[in-house]
Symmetry: D2
Subunit: 390 residues, 4 copies
C-alpha cells in the first residue's frame, strides 16, 4: 500500500494551474511511490480560491499561507508566488520540515538563495527549483548525448529566450516589471532559464559580460486583473510608473571548461512567442533546440562521412526517449505542461529514495549570481568574474 | 448546480488512456454544463481492468460490456474497441438511449455506418465519431479561414498520412492487419482521417481513383501483448498468417465543387512517425498543416503584394485561436491528447444544447464509402463514382 | 591542343539565355575536352537575334534554322523551341550528323520520340534531352545513395511539381496552353520532370492512373510579348480562346520493382513558385528534395539507433559532392542555371568519349508514354498499363 | 557606342575566380554603360597565371602588380589579395587615378582604412569594399523594407557567422591565422560582414563589449598549396607555429539609435558551412536571413491581426525583387557568386554616373574600428565606446 504525499501550493495563477495539472496527471502516467493528495491551496482572493480548489480538487484553501506551514499533514509546499516572496516562504516551509518546490527565478539575490540552500541542507529536506525546461524530453536527450560524449569537447553555447508580450507600451507595471518584486526583467524571468540550461548542458561559467536595456521606461499603473501575458485592466488609471527592470539582456559567458558563448533575452522580439533556443557546438557534433518545437532536437554528427552529414531533426517521441514512454506512441507530441509532470515524477522519487533533486536552491544561487553579475557588468561596463562575487 | 454526466468506456488500450485523460481534463480546462463522472470501464482482462479503473478513477469495471448498456445511470457510451465491434456496440447503446462516442474508423462497411446513423436519428441521441484531428486548433483555424473566404475558390487538396510502425516484417498480424476486424490497412486507419479532413475542409468528393498495395503478404501470428505501435510478443509462434489488408493506399479525388486532389497513406514510410499533412490551394491563398508540428499552420496569402508574399508559420497558440484560450499563454504548445478534450467539450455542449455533434455516423458513412470506393477502384482498375455506390 | 566544338542554338527565350549561359560558363568551371564556340543562334526576330548574339557572343544569327543544319562547321544543335517543333528540328539535325540537345518535353507523342530515338541510333550521334534536374547535385547525390543501397528496397515515390504563374485568368493562351503546340499542360511541362526523376531514381513504371483537370477553360488571345512566367501583352484583344491542355494533373504510378507512388502537378498552386519535390521511401531510409532549396537533400537513415534517428539536411555543397568541386567552397550555394553547365559537361564528355548521354530521346519516349497514358487514363477513367501502349 | 572599362585584378584564388566570373557575367545579365574588358591579372605564379588568364579571358598577366598601376589603359584595379596587402595596393592604384575594388576586410587597422578613404576622396575615384552580402537580393529587400518603415523602431539585431573549416587541429597556419597578415581571425573574416550588415540595416554602433578566444593555439606550418577552406599540403613539415588570431569572437553592440544586439562568429561550429544569419526585431515587425538559404527572407508583420500572424518565408525570386529581374523566373534560385555581379553592376553605374558606391573605404574604417574595439574590449575586459577610438 502506497503512502500518501500531501501537497499544498501557494499561488493560483498561470503557475497554479500548471502545477495543479502536473500533480493531478502524475500518477495517471507515471508510477510513483505515493498517492498524491492535493491538500490545500493558499492565495489572496477567497472567491477565486474556492473556485480554484473545486476545479482542481484541493481539499482546502486559505488566504494565510502560514497556516499551511504549521500543519503536520502537509508534506510538500509548492511555492508559485512572485519572486520576492520565495525566500520567506521557502525558509518557513523548510524550517517546518517540509519538502519544497519553488518557481523560478529562485530569489531576488544570490545571498537569499544561499540562505535557502543552507536551510535545505540543514533540514535535510528535498528541494526543487522549477526550471522545468530541463525536463523537456529533447533537452534531457541532449544532456544524455553530451554525457555520452557525442559532442566531444564543447566549444560554444548560444542561447536565447525571446518573447513579445510587453511590446505594447500600455502594458502596465505588473510585479514582473519592478526590481523589488522581480529582481530583473527578462534577465530574471527568461535568462534564468538560459543560465540554468547552459550550466546543465555545458558547465559552470566563470565570467559574465553583459549589457542590459530598458526600452520603455514608464508604463501605466497596473489594474487589478493584470497577469502574465496579458495587459490587465488599465482603464482606471492614467498614472505612469517607472519600469525598474531591464526589457532586454545580452550577455557573453566564458565557461570553466574553456567554452565560450552568449545568451540573450528580450520581451521586445516581435513574433517570438516563447522562443527559447540553444545551440551547442562541440568537436564531434552539435545540438540545437527550440522550445516552440519542443518535441524535436536538431543533431549534427560530425563523425559521419562528409558527403552525408547534416543537421537531423530527431522527433523526441520514441518510447525509449526520456519520459516519453509514459505518454503516447511515436509521433504523438506532448506539450508545455508535461514538463511539470516529469519534474514531479523525479521530485517524488527523490523524496522516496532520499536523494537530491536538481536543480535546487544551490543551483538557484549559482544562477542568480550569474544574473546579478550581468547587472554589475552592465552598470560598470566591464567583465565580471563570478569568483569575485562573494 | 450542474448535472452529472456519467461516462462508460469500452476498451482500455492506447485509446482507453487517451479518452480517460480527455474526460478527466475536461472540466479542469473548459467550462462545461456537466460534472463528469467516470462510471465504468469494460474490457477483457479483469486484472488489467482493476488497475486501469483505479488509475483513472472509474467507479466500476466489467468484462461484459452489455451490462453497461442496460444501466440507467450511464449517459454516454464511449467505444474504443477494434473496428469490427463498433456497430454492434453502438447500436445497442443507442437503442438504450445512450449518447455514443465511437473511435474511428466508423465501421467495416458504409452500410453498417448507415445503420448506425439511422439509429442515432431514430433515438435522437448525440453521436460523435472521433476523427479528433478536426479539433487540432490549427485545423479548426484552417476551417475558419476557409469559411471566411481567405482561400477563395479551392483548386486542390493534397493530403498524406504516413507512418512506419510495421516496416519490420516480424511485426505480427494484429487485428489491424486483418480485413475482417479492421476493414482495411492504412486505408481505414489513416486515410479515414485524410478523407474526413478533406470533406471537412474542401467538400464532398464525387469520384475516387485508387491503387492499394500490400507490401508484406505474410507475417507472424501475434503474441498476447501485441498492441498498436509495438510488435508484441511473437516469441511463442513461428506460424505465419496472411495479411489481408493494404499496407499503402494512393488515391485521387475529384470534389463536387470542382477541386481535385490526392490522398495517400502508408505504414512503410521510413522516418514518418505520425506524419499527417495536408495542403490546400485556392485562388486567394493556401494552407498547409503537419500533425508532427500540430501547433503550427502554414498560410500563404496571395492577396499580399508580390514582393512580400510568402508562406507564414502561424503559431496557433494565441488565446483567441480555437480552444487555445483554455490552455496556456502564447507560445506554450499543446500536445496530441488535447484534441480529445476539445472534442469532449463540444460533445457535452451538444448534449446540453441538444444540437448535433460532428463528425458523426453520417460522416462515418460518407468516409467509409470513400474508402470502399478505393478498394473497388484498386481492384477493378477504374475510377469509381461515389454516386454509384448505393 | 583542344578541338573546338561548334554550337548552334535554336530559340532565344528563357531557355536561350539558360543554355547560352551554360555554354559560356562550361570551360570556366569544368575541364572539358573541347573549346566551345558559340557559332550561331536561330530565331524569329532579326532585331532580337542581333542583340542576343552580341550579348552572348554568337558569331552569327539567322532566322532560318535550316541553314544551320546544312553547315559543316556546326557540331551541336541545341533545340529550345516550343515542343511541337522538336521532332522536325531534331530529325533534320541528326540526319545531318549533328549531336543534338533538345529541351523537354521531348515531343508531342511517344511515337515522335521513338522516331527521334531511332534516328539517333541510326546516325550514331549523341543526344541529350534536357531534364536538367537530374543534374542538381542533390539529385545526383540521391541517385548515388540509392545505388549504394542506402534506401534498401524502395516502397514509395511521392513527387509533385507545383507552380502558380497562370492563376490569373487573364493570362493568355500562349503556346504552352494549346495541345497542338505543347502536348499537354503541367502534365507535359512539369510532370515530365517528375516522371523523369521517378524513372531515374526508382525505376520504370508499369501502370498509370490519372485525373487531369482544366480549371480555366477560356483565356484571352495572347499578345506579342507573351512569354513563360509572364502574362504578356493582352491589351490589344478581348477575344477568348479555348485552353486545350490540363491545368493540373494527378497520377498514381505502379513500378516494375513493386514500388508504388504518385506524382502531381499544377499551375494553380498559390505560393508555389517552382516547387518540384520528391520523397522516396525505402526499407533502410528515405530521401526528400525540394527544388526551391536545391542545395539541400533530406536523408533519413533508418539504420541509425532509434533514439538518434531523424531527417537530416545534407547541404550538398561539399567539394566531394557531384559537380560541386567545380564551383565554390562548402556552404556557398549554387543556383538554377548551374544544372545546365553540369549537363553540358557530361554531354561534351559523351561526345569526346563516344558514350551515351542520359536522358536522351529513348528516355523521352518512355516519359511521353507515361504522360499520354495519363491522358488516356483520365479520359477513360481507368488504369492504363504501359505495356499496352504500342 | 559604349565605352570600354578595362579591368585588372590582383589575386587569383577563390576570390580571383569569383570576381572574374562576376565581370564576365555582368553584361550578359545586366545593362551597364560599358563594355567590360578583362585586361590583366596579377599574381605570383607564372604558370598558374597563364592558365588563369586563358580560362577567364584576361588579355595579359603579370607577376608584378605595380606594372598595372602605371598603365593608362586600365580603369579599375580589383584587389583580391590577403588583407595586409590591401592598403599599399589600393593607395597606389587610387594615386594613379584608378577606380578601386577591394576585398574585405578593408585593411589591418582603421587608421589604414582612413588613409585609403582619404586618398579616394582626394583623387575622386570610385571605391568599393566588397562586403558582397549587402547585394544578396533578400538582404537588399530587407534594407528596402526597413527604409519603408515596415519594422518600425528597431530594438534588436542578432547576427552570427559560423563556419567549421579549421576545426581540424592539423589545419595549418595559413595567412588567415596570423595577425600580421589577417588582422584577426573570424573577427576580421566573418564578423566584418556582420558589422557591415548591422551598420547597413540598423545603424552605427556606439559601444562594443567583446570576448575573443583562440581555441587551437598552435598549428602546423602551412604547405605550399594551402588555401581557404582546405588544409593544404602539410606533409612536408611537422613544425608548429603559434596561431595569433582569434578562433571565435562574441560581441554585444549598442547602437546610436537605441537598438541593442549581438554578433558572434566562429570557425569551430560543427555543421555550419557558411552560416551567416541575422534577425532584426522592431516595433512593427521582424526580419530574419540565413545565407545558406540566401534566396529566402523571413518576415514577421506585427500589424497583421493576431490570429493570422506568423513568420513568412518570402522567396526573393520575383522579377520585382532587387536584381532578380535580370536572372530567371520566380522560384528559380540564384547562388553565391551572383552577388558579385550585382556589386559590379552598381559599381559600374557609380563610375558612369559619377556617384558614390557603398560600402567603400569609409565604411571599411568604421567596420575595422568596431573589430579593433572588440580586440581592446576582450583584452581589457571592458566595454569600449567607439567615440573614444581616435
Amino acid at each position: 500500500m502506497k503512502k500518501t504525499l500531501n501537497i499544498a501550493i501557494i499561488g493560483m495563477g498561470f503557475m497554479g494551474r500548471a502545477h495543479s495539472n502536473g500533480w493531478s496527471q502524475l500518477n495517471k502516467f507515471f508510477d510513483t511511490d505515493f498517492n498524491i493528495c492535493l491538500k490545500a491551496v493558499a492565495g489572496n482572493s477567497e472567491t477565486r480560491l474556492k473556485a480554484f480548489a473545486e476545479k482542481w480538487g484541493y481539499e482546502e484553501y486559505t488566504t494565510d499561507w502560514r497556516t499551511l506551514i504549521d500543519r503536520d499533514d502537509i508534506d510538500v509546499i509548492d511555492i508559485l508566488t512572485p519572486t520576492y516572496l520565495h525566500k520567506e516562504m521557502a525558509l518557513a516551509a523548510m524550517k517546518a520540515g517540509k519538502h519544497v518546490i519553488c518557481e523560478k527565478p529562485c530569489a531576488l539575490t544570490w545571498q537569499d538563495c544561499r540562505e535557502m540552500a543552507q536551510m535545505a541542507k540543514e533540514m535535510g529536506v528535498v528541494t526543487y527549483l522549477n526550471h522545468n525546461y530541463r525536463r523537456v524530453p529533447a533537452v534531457m536527450l541532449a544532456k544524455q548525448m553530451i554525457e555520452e560524449g557525442k559532442l566531444g569537447t564543447i566549444y560554444h553555447y548560444r542561447g536565447t529566450y525571446l518573447q513579445e508580450w510587453i511590446m505594447d507600451e500600455e502594458f502596465p507595471v505588473t510585479w514582473q516589471l519592478k526590481k523589488e518584486t522581480a529582481g530583473g526583467g527578462p534577465l530574471y524571468d527568461l535568462t534564468s532559464h538560459n543560465a540554468d540550461l547552459a550550466r546543465y548542458l555545458v558547465g559552470e561559467p566563470v565570467s559574465v559580460s553583459a549589457v542590459l536595456k530598458t526600452i520603455v521606461k514608464e508604463r501605466p499603473e497596473p489594474g487589478e486583473n493584470s497577469a502574465v501575458f496579458s495587459a490587465g485592466d488599465t482603464s482606471s488609471s492614467t498614472k505612469k510608473l517607472p519600469v525598474t527592470v531591464d526589457d532586454a539582456a545580452f550577455m557573453i559567458l566564458e565557461f570553466e571548461n574553456g567554452a565560450i558563448g552568449n545568451i540573450d533575452s528580450s520581451r521586445f522580439a516581435a513574433g517570438r512567442k516563447n522562443y527559447n533556443c540553444f545551440e551547442i557546438y562541440g568537436s564531434k557534433g552539435a545540438l540545437c533546440f527550440d522550445l516552440e518545437r519542443m518535441n524535436e532536437l536538431q543533431y549534427y554528427d560530425a563523425t559521419v562521412d562528409a558527403d552525408h552529414q547534416g543537421y537531423r531533426t530527431i522527433m523526441v517521441t520514441e518510447g525509449t526517449h526520456p519520459y516519453v514512454g509514459a505518454w503516447w506512441p511515436q509521433g504523438h507530441i506532448i506539450g508545455y505542461e508535461h514538463t511539470f509532470v516529469h519534474a514531479f515524477k523525479d521530485f517524488t522519487d527523490a523524496i522516496s529514495k532520499n536523494t537530491e533533486m536538481i536543480p535546487n536552491f544551490e543551483d538557484g544561487e549559482k544562477i542568480i549570481k550569474i544574473l546579478q553579475a550581468a547587472q554589475i557588468s552592465s552598470k560598470e561596463g566591464r567583465k565580471v568574474q563570478l569568483a569575485d562575487m562573494k
